[in-house]
Symmetry: C2
Subunit: 260 residues, 2 copies
């Protein structure tokens, strides 16, 4: 299944007792339909406040409903703020997380003169106009295979902090810009720290060279701050096979100017 | 002053004891600065859930702060969800409501296949694709000077239900459309009923001819339903004089594709 959700309405993807999570909401909707316990496995966990346009997840259920009816029924049981966009039967051994080959994230920031009264939980805001050319020069250093220790949270228990970032692009339109980050995998908070660092470059507090030096040093304090969750969207999960052969059902109403 | 606000965060414009209103929030921010009671007069009341990009309001205060510092200070005291975009000293006898010559509203509707998980309180949603040509033909009948009794709420205590609607335009982009309604004044719920009626036309439930007949009959049941508050934005208040001579400070971060 492909799921879109407003991260401001949930305490993250992962099920937690006593907190409403996206995983828990989808599992409860499925359980209400099939009468059995269902575990939904997401391609990745998103933190509280982080949104998704196309999170991918798999589950096993025993049902006589076909894919389309099951999707409709799940959506009818889901709260506002989360929607199943696509649902297809798949091979028995597909695993949304282990089979994922990469992800694409989008981070949206407003540079309006005033704090935006709308979409306060969906767009980050900085007052100052940023130097986008300097940010793009710094982004070029981040692309590629690097040890991202300076950009990963110390809480990470991964064996290696080496990752390949396939692309860091900056798209600006009117008083907003988006940073699009695509890679094979990410350390905890890595995308938000890349964005926070690029914003510091845009403000002139860091330079493209100091970003390269931060990468080489592996020193977390050499990179910029972690940008807040509210601007971050998981927009794609990549697999070797086409998981959803049909046409994309279109945008899911993301607030903003970017369609991914 | 020109004020933008997210209507989903307030119980309407008008101050009410025990409910957080936009008027009350702005008055409290001003009172905290000047130490006296302040009454803020808006150009018009907006209902709970209705947004504003450029509501206009006036007030009298005794302060040594210049306009720019006063605006900054008010914004520093205001909660998220409301922002003073512009603030200018004006002639003593200016009245935001009595001097207003007209208003422009924007109503945003998504026509995505799925209920949008984002902006649930900022965009109306209909599942079906609508016949925009039929809607535009019906909109042409609404333009002009008419008795809008069929489009006004019966609770209205106005002496006359005759109003002049200067323009009803429909702007479509991707899976969204906006209805822009401009006029010299509006009955209670009139804009939302115009939009609800046009959507019924788009669905084929009403025709351009039946909209003209509804206008002529003055029968509220002949028009369509009142569209929900969430899609409605007050975008302009018109005056004979230029209230804010400087350049527009730009968009205030409205979630969506339309800039007004």
């Amino acid at each position: 299944m492909e799921v879109a959700y407003d991260g401001s309405k949930f305490f993250g993807w992962q099920r937690q007792d006593g907190f409403e999570s996206v995983q828990g909401a989808v599992e409860e909707a499925l359980e209400g339909l099939v009468g059995d316990a269902v575990t939904v496995h997401g391609a990745g966990r998103t933190d509280t406040g982080v949104h998704a346009l196309r999170q991918v997840a798999h589950f096993h259920v025993d049902t006589r409903l076909d894919d389309d009816r099951l999707r409709h029924a799940v959506n009818a049981h889901l709260a506002r703020g989360v929607v199943v966009r696509r649902l297809e039967s798949c091979r028995d051994d597909f695993h949304a997380r282990f089979d994922a080959r990469g992800k694409r994230y989008l981070y949206v920031t407003a540079t309006t003169r005033f704090r935006p009264p709308f979409a306060t939980e969906h767009v980050h805001w900085v007052t100052s106009a940023l130097d986008l050319d300097a940010m793009r020069a710094a982004a070029a250093h981040i692309e590629g295979k690097h040890d991202f220790a300076a950009f990963g949270n110390a809480g990470s228990v991964r064996k290696t902090t080496v990752r390949t970032v396939r692309a860091v692009r900056i798209v600006a339109r009117r008083e907003r810009f988006a940073v699009i980050v695509e890679g094979d995998g990410f350390l905890y908070n890595m995308v938000r720290t890349i964005v926070g660092t690029l914003i510091e470059v845009g403000r002139g507090k860091l330079t493209a060279d100091s970003v390269r030096a931060a990468l080489e040093s592996g020193d977390r304090t050499a990179a910029g701050p972690t940008a807040p969750a509210r601007g971050l969207y998981l927009v794609r999960v990549h697999y070797d096979e086409a998981m959803f052969p049909g046409p994309d059902p279109g945008p899911s109403g993301v607030p903003g100017l970017y369609h991914h």
